[in-house]
């Protein structure tokens, strides 16, 4: 938050003691206590494209210490994987857990601020209900980190938040320390339908683009107003008047400054190319296109522009812009050099088995003649996802110094019969399929169906 930090410090100097800003709604996440853990005799997919057979892994002080072979402290917990598979913790870049939780009653429907097409001022984290039973289900599927996004009704839907998948009384207690925020944007049918049906703008795709551009132009002015104010202060002008803070433009200027990552819901190939041109016009970067049912048509352009595609394995047909879906989408987007293909869920069911979704996508790619071994396909739900969220330097792969986010699977994670046996987050064992004491239960589910004992 380089530039925004300075803007904010100038505006609210009291909050900016010692050149650091008191980040609003700061993370209070603390890794759970852990003991050194040595996993031996495993088939390890590192997330960096490597597969190691009969290999070991040491977790200590919340981090990966080494992968392959090495020394372990005498007090290490030793787990003989007996040939079972180990992967990095699974990351879902597109979830609505917490903002559209279970039970999905109206009182819980907090994911889509459908009151105007530009709601860049809202933050999904302020809607997250940390008691969503979905977090526990996702953990049982190996999910260690996830991005919770606002819905797609709006052109600018608001900020997303990246969480570690640990129950807490607050979302701040789950918030991934230091992870950049995302900005959810949306192309196509949803914004034009939601507002067009109300006879409001945007009613068309050209209306969508006009509105995005108008907002970027306004953002540029917001940025220069603040720069001018800061310059006056620097020049010692005592009566310099600070511009009014605007939450919407704080978000959008964060994008132009490169601090907030764009996550854009976009289905059609032509629209994604339009958006890339717009990003060039306003000199910002699109981080990831989400859903991208037609991404396979522009796989080369996505790779050339360094844009990730967060995609489904097989969803299609639920609306017109999803009509051209094919099961090879993820594999074709993965094909060019420099690609960043991701399997995402957008679903409280899908997030529980992203490994199976990746399995289907891998299989279709292989069937179409592409060489996609498991050690590559795993990156679609680990390292590429971490890259999309701006946390690849901390998680998403098994390398020395990375967070100890690890899944020990009952077998090959690309088999439908395989399940997560144990899940580690920051080196701590937080899920164990064979130990009910290590299976979290949300407040909502505690004590339901008292008379039923399976």
């Amino acid at each position: 938050m380089r530039h925004l930090t300075s803007l904010f410090c100038s505006a609210v100097a009291l909050l900016c003691a010692g050149h650091t800003i008191a980040e609003p709604f700061p993370s209070t996440y603390q890794p759970l206590p852990s003991q050194p853990t040595l996993i031996t005799n495993a088939t390890i997919l590192t997330g960096t494209g490597e597969r190691l057979d009969n290999a070991s892994l040491l977790l200590q002080d919340g981090k990966v210490v080494w992968v392959g072979e090495g020394d372990a402290p005498a007090d290490s917990i030793k787990i003989d994987a007996e040939g079972r598979w180990v992967t990095p913790g699974i990351i879902d870049v597109h979830s609505h857990l917490g903002v559209y939780p279970s039970p999905s009653v109206t009182a819980h429907s907090d994911g889509n601020e459908m009151t105007g097409p530009v709601t860049a001022d809202v933050w999904a984290e302020h809607s997250v209900w940390p008691q969503d039973p979905g977090f526990a289900r996702a953990l049982a599927g190996g999910i260690t980190s996830l991005q919770v996004l606002p819905g797609s009704a709006n052109l600018f839907g608001g900020r997303g938040v990246t969480l570690k998948n640990i129950y807490s009384n607050s979302y701040q207690g789950m918030k991934f320390p230091g992870a950049p925020q995302g900005l959810k944007m949306a192309c196509g049918e949803n914004p034009k339908r939601v507002y067009g049906d109300r006879k409001q703008a945007p009613m068309t795709r050209m209306g969508n683009v006009a509105k995005y551009r108008a907002e970027w132009i306004a953002t540029e002015k917001y940025v220069t107003d603040w720069e001018s104010y800061e310059q006056q202060v620097a020049n010692g002008k005592k009566d310099a008047k600070a511009p009014k803070r605007d939450l919407k433009y704080e978000t959008l200027s964060g994008v132009l400054e490169g601090d907030i990552i764009i996550h854009m819901h976009c289905y059609r190939a032509d629209e994604m190319l339009t958006i890339l041109d717009m990003a060039e016009e306003f000199n910002y970067k699109v981080g990831t296109f989400h859903h991208g049912v037609e991404a396979y048509k522009i796989a080369d352009e996505l790779a050339e522009n360094g844009v990730c595609g967060a995609l489904w394995a097989d969803w299609w047909g639920f609306k017109m812009e999803a009509y051209d879906g094919i099961q090879e989408n993820i594999a074709i987007v993965d094909r060019p050099t420099g690609s960043c293909s991701i399997v995402h869920s957008d679903s409280s069911e899908g997030i529980q088995r992203l490994n199976q979704e990746a399995s289907k996508a891998m299989t279709r790619g292989q069937q179409a003649g592409m060489e996609i071994p498991e050690e590559r396909a795993i990156s679609w739900i680990t390292s590429n996802a971490a890259q999309s969220l701006g946390v690849a330097d901390r998680t998403g792969s098994l390398e020395p110094g990375k967070m100890g986010d690890v899944v020990l699977w009952s077998g090959n994670p690309f088999s439908v019969y395989t399940r997560a046996d144990q899940v580690f987050i920051d080196g701590a064992l937080v899920y164990d399929r064979s130990n009910p004491a290590l299976q979290p239960v949300s407040d909502f589910e505690l004590g339901q169906l008292q008379e039923v004992r399976p």
Binding site: P103, G325, S348, Q352
Partner: protein, 420 residues
């Protein structure tokens, strides 16, 4: 599956395609050296052969031979009957979000709003793109579901084969009734109101209301209910355990043959379901308390029901993505359902629940079957070859053609000129 085996399959498909174009000669196909899941009393036959002549399975056994047969070496691969796609709107809905392409539901119809006489089958379009998209994945038959917005009575569905013909429909009519949280708006906001209205409707079917009395049903609706009350198959969409027990009572009192659809909490009343011999159609992935009717949802629902002696059918309710059925069954197996029961939940079980002759491989039956690249319930498995009514399918759909248009890298002409 390896690249080389794909090429082999592709080669076989092309050869068969050539064979198909040779005219209206009697078609004979011999698949040999297969692992055949008959889904009937013969069980699984290893290294077995299956002979198909003129659209019919004529023999299953060892070392079969037939002159002039097109031979397909299964090399040990699995063969199953074509699979059940679940309760879908395949052929009734092209794009869910495009209203004018959706015919599976009625809404805002004039009073009376209860229209059990609504039948979806006249709207079935075998030329829908969804049909081959499902078929190339080994799906062979579906139940066309009927819904009516807000009404307890969804209307009537039928079974349809996914063979793309104008006589796809088969089996008898199936009535759909919804009970529980979803349909409270037209029942006074209470599920108790639903039972009040259902009881009134069946009473009207027995004795038409006097002209002065407000009627729930049309004459045609009364006739429909009367017909179903003579043992007709009624699919009740219901999740909560206590509601399921109400369904069992209501069906018994009124002569319906009930089938539970959804059944998130069916495992809680598994004994009662088994005693009443009532099958359950379910989504094995449903494990969240997504509403207050499904607080008991769990991944081993299918396994617990099966262990209690209840017939389980996988019916995930997806139309465009009906191909997810196999993955759903695989997950049921991963959570304790025996593999054979998982496969039955996609084949023989739905066929027997709805009383149609498919879902098994036996002599004399129409040849609708699939040769798989591996375990049919695995996510890494694909359908290598689909046989429809005794003929090899083209294995093409709108989606495979889009794939083949976009697979070539840097084509010299725009892709609109690539017509695979």
């Amino acid at each position: 599956m390896s690249r080389s085996s794909f090429l082999t399959i592709a080669g076989a498909t092309i050869a068969l395609g050539t064979f198909m174009t040779s005219g209206a000669v009697a078609e004979t196909i011999l698949i040999d050296n297969a692992t055949i899941h008959t889904m009937e009393k013969r069980g699984v036959l290893k290294n077995a052969d299956i002979l198909i002549q003129d659209g019919v399975v004529t023999s299953i056994g060892d070392n079969l031979s037939a002159p002039d047969a097109q031979r397909i070496d299964a090399a040990g691969r699995h063969v199953t009957p074509s699979l059940f796609a679940g309760i879908t709107s395949i052929g009734l809905s092209e794009v869910s979000g495009v209203k004018e392409s959706v015919d599976s539901s009625i809404s805002d119809i004039d009073m009376p709003q209860m229209r059990p006489e609504f039948r979806v089958d006249p709207a079935f379009n075998p030329n829908s793109s969804l049909v081959p998209i499902a078929r190339v994945e080994g799906l062979g038959f579906t139940v066309l579901g009927a819904t009516a917005k807000g009404s307890i009575f969804g209307g009537q569905g039928r079974m349809a084969r996914l063979d793309g013909s104008y006589d796809s429909l088969f089996g008898g009519e199936i009535l759909f009734i919804s009970v529980g949280r979803n349909v409270s708006e037209l029942s006074g906001g209470s599920r108790a109101g639903q039972w009040m209205l259902l009881e009134q409707a069946v009473a009207e079917a027995r004795t038409p209301p006097r002209a002065s009395e407000p009627a729930l049903l049309t004459r045609s609706g009364r006739e429909t209910l009367k017909r179903f009350s003579r043992g007709g198959t009624v699919v009740f969409s219901v999740d909560r355990a206590s509601d399921i027990l109400q369904v069992l009572r209501f069906a018994k009192e009124n002569g319906f043959k009930p089938v539970i659809n959804g059944g998130a909490e069916a495992w809680m009343v598994a004994t009662q379901l088994a005693e009443a011999d009532v099958p359950v159609l379910l989504d094995p992935l449903e494990n969240l308390p997504s509403n207050f009717d499904t607080l008991g949802a769990r991944l081993d629902n299918a396994a617990l029901l099966h262990a209690a002696g209840v017939t389980v059918v996988v019916a995930g309710g997806e139309s465009h993505n009906a191909r997810k059925q196999r993955q759903m069954a695989g997950n049921a197996v991963a959570n304790g359902l025996p593999h054979a029961a998982g496969l039955a939940a996609l084949t023989s079980a739905p066929a027997s629940v709805f009383g149609v002759k498919t879902g098994t491989l036996k002599e004399g039956q129409r040849a609708d079957l699939v040769l798989w690249s591996g375990d049919p319930l695995e996510t890494t498995t694909v359908a290598d070859l689909v046989i429809v009514n005794g003929k090899p399918d083209s294995m093409q759909s709108r989606q495979t053609l889009l794939r083949d248009r976009y697979l070539p890298q840097q084509p010299s002409l725009p892709r609109a000129y690539i017509k695979p």
